[in-house]
Amino acid sequence: MVRSVTIKQLGRATAQWPRGKPGEAVQSGRMRTLVATLAITIAFMAIAGQLVHLALSSQFSITSSMTATIGESFARPDIVDRHGRLLATDVKKQSLFADPARVLDRDEVVEKLAVILPNINQAELRKNLSDRNRRFVWIRRGLSPKMAQRIHNLGLPGLAFRPELRRAYPGGPLAGHVLGHVNIDNKGTTGFERYIDEVVGVEAVHGATLAEQAPARLSLDIGVQYAVEDELAIAMRRFGSRGAAGIVLDIDTGEVLASASLPDVDPARPTMSLDPERIDKVANSTFELGSVFKIVTVAMALENAVVSLDTMVDVRAPLTAGRFTIRDLHPAGRPLSVADIFIRSSNVGAGVLALEAGAQRSREFFERLRLLDPIKTEIGPIAAPQVPNQWGETEIITTSYGHGIAVAPLQFASAAATLLNGGKRVLPTFVKRQPNATDANERLIKSVTSRDIRTIMLRNVTDPAGTGKRAKVLGYPVGGKTGTAEIPGAGGYKKDAVISSFLAAFPMNKPKYLVFVLLFEPTGTEESGGKVLAGRNAAPTAGHIIRRIGPLLGLLPTSKAAAG
């Protein structure tokens, strides 16, 4: 543009020249040179300006993505425990794919690959490679570097690798149920991995670019988690049970320090979770928990001032409710105080207490402790409780000792934590709380009731007649309550198939942690004196767990408790 204007000016100057004087010619010659120089200078300046502009704004990239059509995978933040120990991370692995159009000898490829990857589906691979219209066929994703090298060494044309991120779980099956799984594209499908996708956030990437996010911090302590899993595995062998579950909960903050369910699952093998035996018994299934519910019943009676701990209750006559007759396993033959009903785990006593309080107050108390409504945690919704449709006399009596109502162990543990922590609401969480987070949880029950519950739970372990006496741990004051619940089967309750459980708290002088242990269908072995009662198997297991995790949680054993 500059140039064309200049030519026009030059043309005008040339046209004027013949008519002008000689002096004017020189003048106009200089003028022309000046104009030409100016024009060239401007042109050069424009070029220089453009160069500077290009040099400064070199943000444009000429690298084009060759992989856009293949689809994206996800870069995930690491998962660490409450002390920063690694539980899940992304690592780069090679994935093998083929371009059928470039494969020369199909049979050779299939045969040679089958030697290195023996469990490959040969028929499917042959079919995929025959389709010349396809330019991309996954053969195997997430190969180890060694495998990738061996395949590379075959030198087969048409095969190529693409680096991808795969999830690695260095702890193996440790805390498998909490962690959950990811799919082949590294996207979270269950458990905490899914929470990461939905809340923490993942980055969609091509290739193997690691996420730059800070790790997600669980509330779990893997030392405690391992101790619980190990003790439960020992208990399963010792008492011949089919399964076991255990929870360690901080009763003030609701942080879950350990959540174990055996048989366990390996987070790296999603298909394991399909086995119904391996379901997460802590959060994903509900059970009739049995006598541990008497903690709630007694608390309800105390809270509503129906009785005090010393009130005497006549438990000699069996209770009848509809077609059921409720008896005690070991009838006392004399009236018992409320504390003794708890310690001797009297079904009749619990039933009488619930009847005295009435349907309205029983139901209201369950509701207040959030035992009737579904709740949710970071690892997904907790299995919804199964509660009676109507609260007749039968339901009042059976729920008082934990039958006719089924809740997930984690939900029950958080309700029990409320009864122990002075009455504040507890929301179970799998994410570490900030240490300075203000505790603004609403009060659900009176602190006096909580104090009474602590007293009788401690007595249940220290009293020689207590059902929980085998949970005693030297060094830590422990309190707890046993539960032996019959498992419902076709046409009534199964004979001798029980869930035995023990809900413990320690240190009892100022409870901080709750330990809930469940053993599924234990058999009467020599160790348990041929009995399937919780006091014989679940209680000592809880004791072993507390003895082991106490030091890990930074609690110093006390000689006072050792002496007692």
Binding site: G171, L174, I222, Q225, D230, T558, A562
Partner: protein
């Protein structure tokens, strides 16, 4: 006048060479930057693998068996003579340590 033209020509040539030089340098720098970026990415991937391997070696079931082979056990009340308050009182008191300590602690 001629001087002007010569000067302009020289300037044009000089700037052309300078431009070429800068262009060349820029490419060099870009190449080095890409190499560095690749090295960083590789290092980060290696760190991720090493972190995973370290965590695998430090997993509790392995540490436990190693610790037990060393003769270590969980802390118990038997290792304590007294509660923390008593123990501290003991430390601060000028009296000689109680002889019972050794017998109790085995």
């Amino acid at each position: 006048m001629r001087l002007h033209i010569l000067a302009a020509l020289a300037l044009a040539l000089a700037s052309a060479f300078a431009l070429y030089g800068i262009n060349y340098d820029t490419r060099q720098l870009e190449r080095r930057m890409l190499a560095k970026e690749r090295a960083i990415k590789k290092a980060r991937n290696d760190i991720a693998v090493l972190k995973a391997e370290r965590a695998h070696l430090a997993r509790p079931d392995r540490i436990e068996s190693l610790a037990r082979a060393q003769g270590l056990r969980p802390a118990t009340e038997r290792q304590l003579f007294a509660g923390p308050d008593e123990a501290m009182a003991d430390v601060f008191s000028t009296a000689a340590p109680r002889s019972a300590r050794t017998s109790r602690a085995e």
